[in-house]
């Protein structure tokens, strides 16, 4: 059969957003792949230059619509370093709690999309059902569910209500039971193993060379978790373990995410226990000068914010490093030699978010 290019996108069930993956197929076998991005470019970096420091958070919230708190938090960290301020201890703990709740919500969205990709639509409904609970927790914290605008330069927007710990414990106890069920549905299903094991191999060296980060890198066996290697906020005071798998395939990446959800639950409960009373926010200076960058562990990998300022009340330049943008570069290598049906397994397992790719 002749070789031909197939467009998977911009409108395709696999894409989870607006981008295009062109694959060159010989029958069912993929010879080459070429991601084409840019359909969702909004110019966040450029718009940031005309907004005051605090007002950029509205934009960074919308960088990734399933993981907004982590992005705003990365920006706030960079700006705080630029201004040279240290936020109150309670604010740090609240940030950690919100980050981990957001991480669980984001990973549940991944689980839903991954299930639908490989043909298990029931997983979509189940995972979205549990995601609601965590969105409700975010709503209790921030007043909003998706683009929560919670992290601020100098702390967080508001304190949590008195019974928040109890709500968290109830939700997490329920969720951990359901997570066992999902792991049964995936790990004990021969069909699921057939679809994911040995598919989309990305060796540790290749992953590091391509700049792959986050759960995808940990699925390739590299022990890199920025929450541990470059601890920010109060992650060094909290008891948790990173999730690392050595198989380098789609299955390892999915297991890493499942284990990370458990660890996130542990972090939330631990942080709630250790959270001290006191102020949760401080007043940051209005103007800043200099440049700063901070890396954080986003739900999808290493999120880097570089902020430069020239003494004005708004940034002079903002540069965002999106983890999935770099991961996407490794996709053609992961795909070559596999079948057309493996495209959805591979793309599902690396957890695409087009909002942050196109910025």
């Amino acid at each position: 059969m002749a070789e031909f290019w197939v467009n998977m996108g911009p409108q395709h069930p696999m894409t989870h957003g607006l981008w295009n993956l062109r694959i060159k197929v010989d029958g069912e076998t993929i010879i080459d792949a070429e991601p084409i991005i840019g359909y969702l470019h909004r110019g966040v970096e450029k718009i940031s230059e005309v907004r005051e420091f605090q007002k950029v958070i509205v934009l960074t919230d919308r960088l990734c619509y399933v993981s907004s708190i982590t992005w705003s938090h990365a920006y706030c960290l960079a700006v705080e370093e630029l201004m040279g301020i240290e936020i109150p201890e309670r604010g740090k703990y609240l940030r950690v709690i919100s980050l981990e709740i957001q991480r669980i919500a984001s990973h549940l969205m991944w689980l839903a999309a991954f299930g639908a990709d490989i043909g298990l639509l029931t997983m979509l409904l189940y995972a979205l059902r549990e995601r609601e609970l965590f969105l409700d927790l975010i709503e209790i914290m921030a007043g909003l569910r998706l683009n929560s605008n919670y992290t601020r330069v100098g702390g967080v927007r508001n304190d949590v209500p008195a019974d928040f710990e109890k709500s968290c414990q109830r939700v997490i106890a329920h969720f951990l039971k359901k997570l066992d069920e999902y792991q049964d549905l995936m790990e004990n299903s021969k069909t699921f193993l057939m679809r994911t094991q040995g598919i989309g191999k990305l060796s540790k060296e290749d992953a590091i060379n391509w700049g792959v980060t986050g759960p995808n890198l940990r699925g390739s066996g590299a022990d890199v978790d920025l929450r541990r290697t470059i601890p920010y906020e109060v992650y060094d005071q909290i008891d948790w373990e990173p999730a690392i798998e050595k198989d380098c395939d789609c299955y390892a990446r999915s297991i890493v995410r499942m284990r990370e959800m458990r660890e996130s639950c542990r972090i939330v409960l631990d942080a709630l226990k250790k959270m001290p009373p006191g102020p949760y926010r401080m007043k940051p200076p209005r103007r800043a000068e200099g440049e700063a960058f901070r890396v954080t562990e986003d739900s999808r990998g290493e999120a880097l914010f570089y902020v430069a300022a020239d003494g004005d009340d708004r940034p002079y330049r903002v540069k965002i490093r999106s983890p999935i943008f770099c991961t996407l570069a490794a996709v053609p290598q992961m795909m070559r030699g596999h079948k057309v049906a493996d495209v959805v397994s591979i793309m599902g397992s690396i957890d695409i978010c087009v909002g942050e790719i196109d910025k």
Binding site: V6, M14, I118, G119, T122, R129, T191, R195, K339, A341
Partner: protein, 402 residues
């Protein structure tokens, strides 16, 4: 064993109905003093023609309206419940209920939803792609629909509820069911689209690898029961098993137990349900071979899959699960006719719908298998096991063990 609702049979009932109707017609023409026309209407040829016309209509209505809608409803309700939601709820309440004043409601059982969907599809434009092979593109839905309806020409629902008695009935059903993939290949080729082409080729590959174990399993059943006639096949399964009250359904015989599993898996692949729905894999091929169809053509392609599922489940019940055999003997006498309380049709439909529900249950709880893995399962696992089933059936037949 319980009896059938219909006496003497479907065609016989339709003949009585036709004779009554044509008698009325004859009386009308006699009253108009046209006795020649009247007696033409009751001549044997015309009666037979109208009898079969009415019987065909009844059978098609029964299959395509009653059972197709029911299977669709069962599927949509069942998978919604599996997914922890309510599913379709559109319905018209009973006229005497208070809700009736509001007309249509979304708090019903949802049986009307499929009809509403059908009406919506009828209203949509039938788009034919400019570069499509128009003849084949239009022929594919017709082949799917007609081949599926053809199954019901011989598929019996009970001893008396059948359209025709064919000595090679099971073979006919298999032949009619296996026409479907040909239409899929036609649809995939003629749409002139890369997704549909890949889908059509996948269907072709799957047909080759799953028709064979399907038919090999039937061969094993035929070896044991010694016939391809569905009626005799069911009659063989009627006698009790080795002096117990358990009926000797084929599925209880050791070689056929394996055959049952293989037949079931091959049937799921033949029906393109989710573990094996690679020709229309919606996540990778955008509904595969149905991508370019719209309106009611898509409705036919999509809806008749459920009727094929029903027909396939019916075949499975006849081959392995004792057909319409049921345990109830009780009858009530109405005007001297013994009417069974739980007739054979009830048992047949019960088993068939249970099989359909198991297929639905499986297809919404496991992911899709990859195309090459599907073929590997077919050639490396199912075909050798099906041959083993035949060997086992032959041994059991020679030794007279079952």
């Amino acid at each position: 064993m319980s009896g059938s609702l219909l006496t003497p049979n479907l065609v016989g009932l339709c003949r009585s109905l036709t004779e009554i109707l044509l008698g009325i017609v004859k009386a009308i023409f006699d009253a108009l003093s046209l006795p020649g026309v009247g007696s033409w209407f009751v001549s044997p040829g015309v009666v037979v023609f109208f009898t079969y016309l009415i019987a065909t209509l009844v059978m098609v209505m029964w299959a395509a309206l009653v059972n197709l809608l029911s299977v669709m409803w069962v599927e949509r309700k069942l998978y919604s419940r599996i997914q922890d939601r309510r599913g379709i709820m559109l319905g018209v309440p009973w006229p005497w209920s208070k809700k009736y004043k509001r007309g249509m409601t979304n708090l019903g059982w949802g049986f009307l939803q499929n009809i509403a969907d059908g009406v919506k599809l009828l209203q949509k434009e039938n788009i034919t792609p400019a570069s499509a092979d128009k003849l084949l593109f239009h022929a594919a839905p017709a082949i799917i629909v007609s081949s599926t309806i053809m199954v019901f020409a011989v598929l019996p629902f009970s001893e008396n509820f059948y359209y025709t008695k064919v000595a090679l009935g099971v073979l006919f059903v298999l032949a009619a069911l296996s026409l479907g993939p040909f239409a899929i290949i036609l649809a995939g080729y003629s749409s002139n689209n890369k997704y549909t082409l890949i889908g059509g080729l996948r269907a072709a590959a799957m047909m080759l690898s799953y028709e064979i174990p399907l038919i090999l399993c039937v061969v094993a059943v035929v070896l044991l029961s010694g016939t391809l006639d569905p009626f005799q096949m069911v009659a063989v399964q009627e006698r009790p098993l080795m002096g117990t009250i358990v009926p000797s359904w084929n599925v209880f015989s050791p070689p056929q137990m394996l055959g049952f599993v293989i037949f079931f898996i091959a049937l799921v692949a033949e029906l393109e349900r989710i573990p094996f729905d690679i020709p229309e894999a919606d996540a990778e091929l955008v509904e595969g071979w149905t991508t370019e169809y719209g309106g009611m053509r898509f409705g036919f392609l999509f809806g008749f899959k459920w009727l094929r599922a029903f027909a396939g489940a019916g075949l499975l019940v006849i081959l392995y699960l004792g057909g319409w055999n049921g345990p109830v003997f009780a009858t009530v006498s109405v005007l001297g006719y013994p009417i069974p309380i739980l007739p054979q049709e009830f048992w047949f439909l019960l088993k068939t719908y249970l099989v359909v529900m198991v297929i639905i249950w499986i297809s919404w709880s496991i992911p899709r298998v990859r195309a090459d893995q599907v073929l590997k399962i077919g050639w490396n696992r199912l075909i050798p096991l099906a041959l083993l089933t035949i060997l086992g059936a032959a041994v059991f037949k020679t030794m007279g063990w079952f």
